[in-house]
Symmetry: D2
């Protein structure tokens, strides 16, 4: 297939490499050109603008930082929308707001273009190893068309609804649930430690019984070792996702007190520890607030 | 070994049966005698008082409802303490407060008796099937002595500290972490549903990715099916455990905002739905508070 | 002075009337013309566009619903900015976001126009009676110029800083503090009532001792009488202000757990009672969550 | 009247002095005798035990630290209950739990003795100046009998219910409302300061508009000046009162999320700043959590 790929950050470059490896004809674009070079050396075509990356492609994928970055890539004379042919498919992999996904969907529809969301769970190493989890939503025919690509980048694909933004909503719910698990472990470890129990012991019990899952094993280990730097996923990114979840909650009139709590914990952590800390640094805040 | 067992509720009767099956000489006592009968028919000796159940035993196990029930069994002329011989071991399996465990430990010590806590994770069916997880703490020699019994009732034994109450603290931390996971799923499902995503879809993604663990599978399924009655673990029991965790937090000066939130959610659920609802009924509260 | 006034809602029409009464030459504009008619009959000039209302005026005042309404009035060929002469002063009285106020300030500055914020506390009857409290911020010379107008509409003028948006921040802090007082009374009344104490008795003690202030007397009376309809200040407006305060907290990295709690309480109230309820309806939510 | 007074701390000694000044025949008792001496020099009789202080008295007043201190004074051969004659009246002024007040009421009733609660708002200087606010509850005839004494110690007496513990509940609600006001100001000031607005300016607006009440003027000034030492009312005492309110909420199944938040803020403040800080030190926590 003729595929375009926009956004070659730590996640995007791994994903794009896997698409290329699978034998697709790939055009790539990135704001700063250097990041495109390894892919070009492996056979990808360098596009000078988003429009060029979309031009003549069956499928174009975006993996960008946020709503604003996506907006910039979409619009204008050199934008993705201007370049995409009728009926071609835009797959948005970025963690953007539900409202932004709805708005992008409407804009493509008005141009006779197709659009789905396909959000991913996993970190850069999982992206490189094609071990991502992909959560997708949109028209069934569009998803069917995207499947060969999605299966190349992930270990499993979940279809969660017919509206593209449903995938974004599920992604935000997922990150909320991770953050909640981290906060729970952080508070429990602070209590354990103040009561004389070793954090590692508590984690051993949790992951050895009802919480034998990656979220608890991975973040539990970070909390036990207080290895908050370098950040695997920085606190301000976590905060951004909690804010997006909060906007969806606000727009749908859904009270979420635990979400609100997490937002404040991240704000406190960033205010006191600086922005370079991992989002699991809320556990450090639990410890410090307890005088540890 | 000569073992005594006090407290034959849904958990205790399963545990006691497994000890008997393993070939130990077992004396049993329960406040209401009927519950002891099946065990007596299987070969256990019926004790008429806690004292009698402790008399001449190497190990005596208590599995009672709360601090007050344990206190009643321990004290007085017919109490466990009066009956227990010097150097015999009392294993407390009840979910009691950290402070109560510390106080019981001190009382036994002053009588030359031994004491450890061995709290369990698992529901009555797990107790019957000897599949409990056992969390124990206390003097290493006492735990070594208790091991043959603990291994008969559980699938795995965790040692978490030298002070018996450390096991109680870890048990409370565990129940807090479960309740937090339930609340997180409940809020996420309310948001998903208000946004048009099916709860079952969200759960499929969570348990299929980072949350592939019993706590999420079991309670997630209850939340999806809204099967809050009959209660597997009633909300007032969950509330009791959150209160005990809160007392430990208070006594050790540990702020735990998520714990506080969970306590209020359980109160709200009980106030609106009555006390017979499962503790996962907080998910119903998330839905109702969102107008669902 | 030659004054323009844009936004003749319940607050704006009272304020504009007082400016007219004080003898100023007043041009008025409102999106729907009918609301301007009483003022025109009293001697105001009807402007057909925001630009016309600003044209040739020394001072132009805006009192609009939100950021978006202000943006619409400011921009474009028929907008306020296009009409305002160099060095003329725009006084923004709307409850808008801190970020919007900063942005408007910058736009005026780039046109050689002057800008201050002058937010008000008080309800429509206070606006009509010239009994508002005015909180203003900006360049001292601009405030001095605005004073004759501000003193005509309010009973007292507070200067809180040199950056116009400082007034907006203080206004949001004020509404947050009111909402917090309402929540506190609502929770306390729920506890009192469940414990057998009459709400009116509790309020009598509060306002008779340490809380003898309008916020407690006014909203306490509404809570005691459960007079949440018609809304004096509707819950969605309160929610909007809490959201704006939350954005300021987010932008300045300030954790505010009480603010977050209030936002969720308003969401819950709107989700369950509908949008027409007064913002003090959070007290109803406290009662209902307690099973009352 | 023949009056007994037990508990001569900072509050009690001021109250007792006013009763003596009013011409009553006063017997006094305190755990450490020195504190009784100034009163004895002024004409009070020194009692060596609580029983002696109650013996032959019409009215006995207790002003003690907490439930445990009251219990110690009441019970035993040398206790108040043993000394109080039939039909004599015990007035409890201590800030004790609702449950303790109910239990004390029942014990007196079983002895044919009378009991009311009469809680006070005000600090030691107000006690000395007879400017306390008194909140009383109980049988109307008992209150009528107590009135001459209550009016001697306070500037105003509120009757809030027929069950003595109703006064305790109202007292706890009052302290909760104060703590909520402090937290609201603390968070608002942190936001203001991070946004560039002086805390004193914000307070001037609040107390100059809708919050012109002692709670805001007094604590607002402490927050502006960061004068948290020496503690007028130490954080652990505030925490104790929030805990007692929480127990009442728990017993009556009343969710109070704001109360929970306040409890955690006090815990955080004590954990980080030590126990000697004023309860308004939660404002310092708001500032520090925001990185100030």
């Amino acid at each position: 297939m003729k595929v375009g790929f926009l956004g070659l950050g730590r996640m995007g470059s791994g994903i794009a490499a896997n698409i290329l490896k699978a034998g697709h004809d790939l055009a790539v674009w990135n704001r700063s050109r250097e990041k495109a070079e390894p892919l070009v050396r492996s056979g990808a075509v360098l596009a000078r603008t988003p429009r060029e990356a979309a031009d003549g492609r069956d499928i174009v994928i975006t993996m960008l930082a946020d709503d604003a970055a996506l907006e910039q890539v979409l619009s204008g004379d050199n934008g993705l929308i201007a370049g995409l042919k009728a009926n071609a498919l835009h797959i948005s992999m970025s963690t953007i707001s539900v409202a932004a996904a709805d708005s992008v969907a409407a804009r493509h529809a008005s141009q006779g273009q197709r659009f789905i969301s396909a959000c991913v769970f996993g970190r850069p190493d999982a992206a490189a190893a094609a071990k991502l989890f992909v959560v997708t939503a949109g028209d069934a025919a569009d998803i069917a068309r995207a499947r060969p690509i999605l299966e190349v980048v992930g270990q499993r694909v979940f279809e969660v609804g017919e509206r593209p933004s449903h995938a974004n909503l599920v992604k935000l719910c997922g990150n909320f649930t991770i953050m909640a698990a981290i906060e729970a472990m952080g508070e429990a470890m602070a209590l354990a430690e103040k009561g004389g129990v070793k954090k590692a012991k508590l984690l051993e019990v949790l992951t050895g019984t009802l919480f034998d899952a990656p979220a608890y094993r991975t973040y539990g280990q970070i909390l036990v070792n207080e290895r908050f730097h370098p950040a695997g996923f920085a606190a301000p990114l976590g905060l951004k996702d909690m804010r997006l979840a909060g906007e969806a909650a606000y727009d749908t009139v859904t009270p979420m007190p635990l979400l609100s709590l997490l937002r404040d914990r991240l704000l406190e952590t960033i205010a006191k520890e600086g922005p370079d800390i991992d989002w699991s640094g809320v556990g450090l805040t639990s410890a410090r607030d307890a005088g540890l």
